[in-house]
Symmetry: none
Subunit: 198 residues, 4 copies
Amino acid sequence: MRVDAARNRDRVLSAAREAVARGDTSLQLNELARRAGVGVGTVYRNFPTRQALLEALSEDRLLALLAEASAALAEADPSSGLRRLLRAVLDVLLADEAFAEVLAIRQEARSAAAGLKTRFDRAAEDLITRAREAGALRADVDAEDLRLMVCGVVHAARNNGGDTDSAAERYLAVLMAGLRPDPRSAVPRCGTRSLPPE
Amino acid sequence: MRVDAARNRDRVLSAAREAVARGDTSLQLNELARRAGVGVGTVYRNFPTRQALLEALSEDRLLALLAEASAALAEADPSSGLRRLLRAVLDVLLADEAFAEVLAIRQEARSAAAGLKTRFDRAAEDLITRAREAGALRADVDAEDLRLMVCGVVHAARNNGGDTDSAAERYLAVLMAGLRPDPRSAVPRCGTRSLPPE
Amino acid sequence: MRVDAARNRDRVLSAAREAVARGDTSLQLNELARRAGVGVGTVYRNFPTRQALLEALSEDRLLALLAEASAALAEADPSSGLRRLLRAVLDVLLADEAFAEVLAIRQEARSAAAGLKTRFDRAAEDLITRAREAGALRADVDAEDLRLMVCGVVHAARNNGGDTDSAAERYLAVLMAGLRPDPRSAVPRCGTRSLPPE
Amino acid sequence: MRVDAARNRDRVLSAAREAVARGDTSLQLNELARRAGVGVGTVYRNFPTRQALLEALSEDRLLALLAEASAALAEADPSSGLRRLLRAVLDVLLADEAFAEVLAIRQEARSAAAGLKTRFDRAAEDLITRAREAGALRADVDAEDLRLMVCGVVHAARNNGGDTDSAAERYLAVLMAGLRPDPRSAVPRCGTRSLPPE
DNA sequence: AATGAATGAGGGTTCATTCAT
DNA sequence: AATGAATGAACCCTCATTCAT
């Protein structure tokens, strides 16, 4: 019966993913149960709240982002590693509207997703430190800030009248540019960073 | 009875403002009527939909922002004018959570608020053009982009675990920095501000 | 000011007639006021209830039917006179959906329309008596019965899936045929009535 | 839980029948829920619309009428079979005011009641054909016409100031008489019933 | 008189959540 | 465990009628 239970859980998750892909972010547990061909009670047993469901949906995404963070850390250029990660976050958010709720909002519960998010922030913090030390990142932002600002970018892009993706592209470019340390306030060092590499 | 009607309308608006100030952005017309000490019908007469109410609430804000835009245009320095306007938008958004819905979301109806928003965008466009010509603004953003990005900043700041205002401060700084034309792609000119100091 | 009042009353009546002609039988006093370009209060002053309005609308119709009754009485053939009247009632009912409410429903108020309806029934009674004496009408129907049966015919015809008018035509034919005295129960007299005149 | 559900459904139906018997045809789902001692949601689950409830209420009636139609078809005399069916329809309509809405009004949905109604019409059509071939029924009416005309009879009888039942009796007699083929247009045959006795 | 804003009962419908089976 | 019927609070909205101006 353990197998059955797992299959039911998966059905619900599939139905939820499908709904999100369709752009329906409401994730009403009743409706979901119907679509999943499962009783409401089953949905509730597995995901007591909409938030719990959201977080379950997010685990894959968060794991993928963690992998991205590792890959980014493996890159030689700190700046490009950071850029890579931001873009990865953006892409996931664009692909999954519901994920923003998890990525942006303060978790209360001690949940798997909350743990993953923390791990992600830690990984990002490593990238951040490295980029900052390389003079490629302003000093006043931390991992949470970056995460939220990307969410902000997506939020803005989604409200754009035209193409969401291209708007997101531009807004991310602005964000990245804005993350460079202010050249005016910088203490000049050898190999001024705001100039392109020879 | 014009006087009475106006008083009732104002009561509803007051109740709505109070709710928004309390952080209740739901603006349920029934509840509002109760709070305003007014029949439901009265609310519906004045504001047929939540959207209409939102827009009515926004008119003051939009007028204030229009004034700010004028003042910003009067400033000698294009860059500082633009900065001033962005900060003004941010402040209004921070003070009025509901206003973000009007500022961010595409209006459909031919409403007073929609008109004001268009006028605001036009005023911002003037600032933008001027700033761009002065080499203080990247080429790939327009008034809508700016508006939305500030909304994004507020969105991000609100989700920040710490102090919303200080987060907003930092995110706005990042945005502004990001709006400068990319120094790497810039054609160097005499006295260009965006070059690092010698 | 008497003139103004009358004009207002007429405006309301016109709006009501127009609504009925459009097939909108609800006659909501609010909506009517709006269409008539008149305050709700004015409508209420003239027509305290929907019923009152209905009756006012009916007066013309009832007068026309009274005239028809006179004309029918003037016809030489009692049977054809009766037929003529039934058809006239049917035509009015088909043209004016709201009129059925007045013609079918028991009036309580001492109203002009109630009076006219009574007068109409009296006129019809004359026709009925004459037709009955001529052996052209069964004995067990009176003026109210006839009135109601024509209403029934219209009611049935309106629910017909096809063409209302042609259904009404057929149903009226059935009604008329059914009104002839039962030949089987009749006491044979010279000049059997159920045979066509030579 | 099937048992429980069925019990609740029945409670609602009972409450509805009681209301109809009381003469309250409005069948407001809220009110019904209260009377049935059941949540509103339960009513909505079982009968999403007033129409659905009406149809559910009608199924018994329609089944009974179908049985009547069979019995009528079993009668030797086509004329008396038809008479029997019309009377049965009349009796049901007199006993159940709400049923008229189902019997008279064009169904849109593919519902059980619609199906039964169609079956009833078909059964009636058999009777009609037989009666027509026996020279006992005029040619220009079909099953729908009959059904609607009986509805018309009830409609008329209900508006009668006196006793509804006796009015219905008379109106049905008129209807039945009217359904005989017109003797004047008939081709005389040996032993034709519709000729007056010598 | 006329106006039309105000009223608020009334009715409709949804959906998160519980719980009997 | 799973089911899915039941619940009913919570919203939404309309419209007949009143009444201050």
